[in-house]
């Protein structure tokens, strides 16, 4: 299994797509953090500051995209055949892809969180806002950003295993995270808070209304990853390798 994970990590590292995702994460996080940190006047409360410092969480979207590509790219380019011939076991293949995508997600998270926390902190200092976060808040913020972004990588693999078509899987991810889940959370918050995006937001110990506790949020996000991957595995293993 360790060999398989090493192979999957190399697959992620050895194409330029991953570099593109890292670059997109950097550009977006820097731009959004600087815009908010330098222009917003709503940075007085702990929640306001946490929102700005946590803008690195956008890396979770790219982590999920990378996870989707880890599996759908194999179908798109036919590399799933050599992958299967080396290791003819779907649990091992998908398991390794989940772990490798979580590792990649953690790297995205460190970059995203490092930038948003670092730049956000400098902005607050520059504008002489008193820092409202205490040590526990910082710990939750860093843990929530890194862990949630890593788990999003695994969720991407599960989604990609279920929807082998790369474009369709990306569209579903976009529609779910940016439209559907927000809609459900706005209309039915008690149900919507169990969605993956809101569960991930809860992991930073956000005080926003209706969110779960960090521990429950973490458990729910992991559950999403496990269920999607298990469904993807069941779907894949009952079919011929194309």
């Amino acid at each position: 299994m360790i060999n398989q994970v090493r192979a999957e990590v190399l697959k992620i590292r050895s194409t330029r797509t991953t570099l593109g995702f890292v670059a997109a994460t950097v550009v977006l996080v820097v731009a959004l953090t600087l815009l908010t940190g330098l222009l917003s006047n709503s940075l007085h409360t702990v929640e306001d500051q946490r929102q700005m410092l946590g803008l690195g969480g956008i890396a979770g979207f790219f982590s999920a995209l990378a996870g989707i590509l880890v599996i759908t790219g194999e179908y798109r380019f036919g590399t799933i055949r050599p992958t299967f011939l080396v290791s003819p076991s779907w649990p091992r293949i998908l398991g390794a892809k989940v772990v490798a995508s979580m590792i990649a997600g953690a790297v995205f998270a460190v970059i995203g969180a490092g930038l948003s926390i670092g730049l956000g902190y400098l902005c607050l200092k520059h504008r002489a806002f008193p820092i409202e976060l205490h040590s526990g808040d910082w710990a939750y913020l860093v843990f929530g950003l890194v862990a949630a972004t890593a788990i999003w990588g695994g969720i991407g693999v599960g989604l990609g295993a279920l929807i082998r078509n790369q474009i369709a899987a990306v569209i579903v991810l976009l529609a779910w995270t940016f439209v559907l889940e927000n809609l459900v959370f706005a209309l039915l918050p008690d149900l919507g808070r169990y969605g993956p995006t809101q569960a991930g937001n809860a992991m930073t110990h956000s005080n926003a209304d209706h969110l779960l506790s960090p521990a429950t949020g973490t458990a729910v996000l992991i559950l999403w990853m496990v269920v999607l991957t298990a469904l993807g595995m069941a779907w894949t293993s009952h079919r011929d390798v194309p």
């Binding site: 192979a7 999957e8 330029r16 011939l85």
Partner: protein, 298 residues
């Protein structure tokens, strides 16, 4: 002895289409077998079932006495190339091989060895999208050789190779099998593998048409004997008396059908007829191939 490959009543249906029907054969160690048939005959589907990529609708596909998925270390037992396009275009050839070698626990040094073996070491750091079809075929072969396997399964490996590449592949496969290893190579062009294989399996419309040593096949289907003698008239009479069909060939030779070279030689010796030439003039392999596959098609 356990056969290296065993296909037992293999059948594969896709909806109402039967791609492979009741196909059975086995391969012994150290043989190079040509798996032949026109496009769409079911060759690739059969190979995919042997490799566990497709589940048979019925029947069994075994390698080394078990299913592919149950092999302990598959890359070290079986090397396979099914498509010359199974690469990420943005990944270098070297990294493609490394992703496979790492998954199989094979050291990177072996990657360099196989790159040199298929003469791709100079281009190894270029992205695959810049490779020619021939280079992709060789990269595929390199990936199959990573584990130094006992069995090679290659689907149309000569596609896209130039004549020099085809000769290289032929020599390579012969040398590979000479070490006691087994090769199963598919092709839709018999001439491509005629000088490489010693056994043939011919399929058409998903069914096995013939399984035979290549030489036997040539003899069996439409083989004739060319014989030259200063006593041609006497020889022709003796042969026709014995039941052979004799026609006049080039340079005064006789073309004998229905008799083997041994039978013609013995008959001539019995009648004290001098022979200047006695050779088997088999039908062209391509002719045999077309006869067999078109017959099955009708």
């Amino acid at each position: 002895m356990t056969p290296v490959v065993l296909a037992e009543s293999l059948t594969k249906r896709f909806g109402s289409v039967t791609a492979v029907q009741d196909l059975s054969f086995e391969l012994d160690p150290g043989t190079v077998t040509g798996f032949l048939g026109p496009n769409g005959a079911g060759k690739t589907t059969t190979l995919r079932m042997l490799l566990g990529l497709a589940v048979p609708s019925s029947g069994r596909a075994m390698v080394f006495g078990t299913s592919y998925a149950r092999l302990d270390d598959p890359l070290r037992r079986v090397g396979a190339v099914l498509e010359a396009t199974d690469f990420h275009p943005g990944r270098s050839g070297r990294n493609h091989l490394r992703t496979l070698s790492r998954a199989a626990g094979i050291p990177d040094a072996r990657v360099e060895e196989v790159l040199r073996l298929v003469e791709l070491d100079v281009a190894a750091d270029r992205r695959v999208k810049g490779y020619s079809l021939g280079m992709r075929q060789r990269l595929g072969l390199a990936s199959a050789l990573l584990g130094d396997p006992d069995l090679l399964i290659l689907d149309e490996p000569a596609n896209g190779l130039d004549p020099e590449g085809v000769r290289w592949l032929r020599d390579f496969l012969r040398a590979y099998a000479a070490g006691g290893r087994t090769v199963l190579v598919s092709s839709h062009v018999l001439a491509e593998v005629a000088q490489t294989v010693d056994h043939v399996l011919i399929v058409a419309n998903g069914r096995l048409v013939i399984e035979s040593p290549l030489a036997e096949l040539t003899n069996r289907v439409g083989g004739s004997v060319r014989v030259r003698s200063p006593q041609a008239a006497k020889l022709q009479g003796a042969l026709e008396h014995a039941g052979a069909t004799v026609t006049a060939g080039e340079d005064g030779a006789l073309v004998v059908n229905g008799f083997t070279t041994e039978q013609v030689g013995e008959l001539a010796a019995a009648d004290a007829i001098v022979l200047h030439e006695l050779t088997r003039a088999g039908a062209s392999l391509e002719q045999i191939f077309l006869e067999l596959t078109s017959g099955a098609g009708s």
